[in-house]
Amino acid sequence: MTQNLPEIPDTLVNVDVIGYSNFLVNTGATGTKFLKEIRDNKKIMGIKCPSCGKVYVPPRLHCPTCFARMSEWVKLSGKGSLTSYTVVRYEEPYLPKQPPFAYGIIQMDSADTGMAHFLGEVDLDKIKIGMRLEPVFKEEREGSILDIDYFKPSS
């Protein structure tokens, strides 16, 4: 396409656009209770649907199938089985750990859903689906899911 004003170049320009944000995330009453039990009592809690009886970990306020409000808390042993995992070997900003590290889905005993977390104290080449796991808590806990340092193989 021909353009007039030939003295001004048509060279394509790209501009760098910086977006900065600082969002707040509320965990709400349900999330707060879950995180406080981890922080204060080293306990992992589930929540039970009054309609279908499923136990959810992490907890949520409404059952995803029944839309029933849930308020019955269930104490879990913390032990569970690995249902899937991967080993992260790439680096990018905002990763919570230095690679390589393993994380997986852990199905807690007495719960119906899996929870994602890191795997530790384990040879990355010897992780197996179905292996038994238990949580290792941090010494300094601040009310975060990362107060659980990782899950380790349980005897």
Binding site: N4, L5, I8, P9, V13, I18, Y20, S21, T32, K36
Partner: protein, 158 residues
């Protein structure tokens, strides 16, 4: 069951600061940015009604025709509107709260297009819609092809 949850004195909250850099292509509008580097303000002109617009566009938003003609809008314009920010505002480029002394104005250029700019006069009571303004540019070596290459619009006598 629609009652809200009982208020707990402590609710756990997180913050997550992020900054992300995107590389946006100006495409057809690149000529506008290149013009600013030379101290000129360019707009596209609609072949149907002759209206010049900034931001320039490859297609007229009203008539859906290609706008191949670029028009130099001159160095002067008239004030359409002005406002001054009286509160510290979040700067999305830095993440800091910032205050600004100069009013932000909309200017109708001699060529008919309109654009935003900073006003050199900081006293808003001295601003009148329709008053004549002239572009004050940054030194050529500091220009980046952005609208703030025009440092200020300076009120001038008729």
């Amino acid at each position: 069951m629609t009652t809200e949850q009982k208020q707990d004195p402590e609710f756990i909250q997180f913050r997550y600061p992020r900054d992300v850099t995107y590389h946006h292509a100006l495409g057809y509008q690149s000529k506008f940015a290149n013009g600013l580097k030379q101290g000129r303000i360019l707009a596209t002109k609609c072949p149907v009604d002759g209206r010049c617009t900034i931001p320039p566009r490859i297609v007229c938003p009203m008539h859906h025709v290609r706008q191949t003609e670029w028009v130099d809008q001159g160095q002067r314009g008239r004030l359409i509107s002005a406002f001054k920010i009286n509160f510290p505002m979040f700067n999305s480029r830095t993440g800091e709260l910032q205050t600004w002394e100069n009013p932000i104005i909309a200017v109708e250029l001699e060529g008919g297009a309109r654009m935003d700019g900073w006003c050199m006069e900081t006293d808003t009571s001295k601003l009148k819609t329709g008053m004549l303004l002239e572009a004050v540019w940054r030194p050529e070596e500091e220009r980046q092809g952005r609208a703030d290459d025009i440092m200020y619009w300076k009120p001038i006598e008729e």
